[in-house]
Amino acid sequence: MTPNRAQRGASKKRRVPLALLIVPVVLVAIGVAILLALRGGDGAIIGGGDEPPPPFDFIVKPATAILTAPDADEATLSANADEVAQEITPTIDDLYTNAFLDPSNWRHDDYEEVFAAFGPDAAATAEQSLETLTLGATAGDVFDTVEPGKSKLSYQVLFDPDGEPDTAVVSVIFRATAERKSGTYLAIVSEGEFFLGQIDGQEQPWTITAFDVTRDDHETHPPSASASTSASPSA
């Protein structure tokens, strides 16, 4: 069978010296290497910054109102407690996203945004507890990815005798799975309570004034393909 024109062309191309094919590949490889080296190297994706954090929201349980006035209207304050929970939840979502999920934070040991949620007195201690309250200073060296798991918030809101919310305690159970560069997996579990109050002069309406948080991570298996990576808010 006589080769057609295209086959002839292909046959002709095979005769090009292999070294000539490799040269562009080598040049590209060197170019990439230089680019990465010049960027200072953080495992960043070529041609852009870190990927955005995975979508994440805590599941929020109905809030409990704690009353200080003997004649307070419990039903009204219960509804108000849920409103307070709705106000605070984005702060806690952001806190955990910034502390554990946002690669642009954990890959670069840059957790400054985390501490914005804390009042001035609590922030100093929080910063000293970075390894417990965040993925950690060297997380970028260890992990490839972090995916959130089913995480929950429950609120207790203390109302003053005039029926105004004074203090909220949010109980947090946060779960995530981190894949190490070695290919093994770590289950991240952060559990605890945050007290929030309304401090004059603070940017956020509710600020963390006290906290008690425990990290209890453990080895785990790769998440199954069907496992949810993002919880949805629900009332």
Partner: protein, 322 residues
Amino acid sequence: MRMLPARRRAALLVALVAAWVAGSALGATHPAGRASAAPLFQLEPAHAEYVPVLDGTKPIYVLIIGSDARPDQAVESQRADSIHILSINPAKHKAAIVGIPRDSYVEIPGVGQNKINTALFYGGPDLVVQTVEQLTDLKMDYWAMTGFASFEQMVDDVDGLVVDVPFAMNDEASRAFFEPGVQRLDGDNALAFARNRHDLPAGDFGRSENQGRLMVAALAQLKKEFNKDPARMLIWAASFVRNGTTSLALDEVLDLAFTGTAVNANKVENVVFPGGVAMVGGLSVVTLNQETLDKISKDLADDGLLKKANVPPSPNEPLLGG
């Protein structure tokens, strides 16, 4: 072994060099020092905590008043059945409780000499505060007051108080029937424990010490519950505000509660101003031992705490076997 053709060997070499260059550059993104310092990551539980305890060096004095108001009576217009100074040293995380016998015959500002418990009837908690300040020369920062019903409710709100009852009690008048030992008292029983004086050797002196014992128990329990579940503090604070009457604002209640969680309840000195019983104008009254009163007051003024040397003997000593 079969050799590769020369061109392929050259290509493989170039590829290896390229891989090495690229690999070196990638490797440079992870300084060796940091990579080797990377921990296995939190395989041991870790804990972070911030509790906003007061830490000033100035002592805080809270006058705690137990009104003998019955459920249908206003607490501030009855007599004060129990009067205690709670003194807290925030910096040292220590505290002391000093009971003032209700029948102490003292000068009440604007009223004259009378039993201290009548100050509440004549001028409400503010006059009790003034009277105690005049007596001790200590400036009270706050006062807090409960009546019978509100005290019971407060105890029930926190699911009872765990109290180490120091000796058996069997008093019909107060309905205090207890075997010695650690037990959880509900509001009704806690009130009975606080009111019992008839089967105590020193009567009201011993009762005042037992009331202080309840306060120490409450402090220990608050701390224990807070350590287990910090949100429990809201239950305690809310119950205190809902059932009591106080000069403390809600945020001050929380500040003191946080501070209370740092206090070692086992080391709280719980004392009662000593004195003797006398008759004045047909009234059975307590005449306080002025020397001891001055010693204790001066000691408290210093740092809010009591030195061992200034701790008087327990009025319940005969029952305590001490």
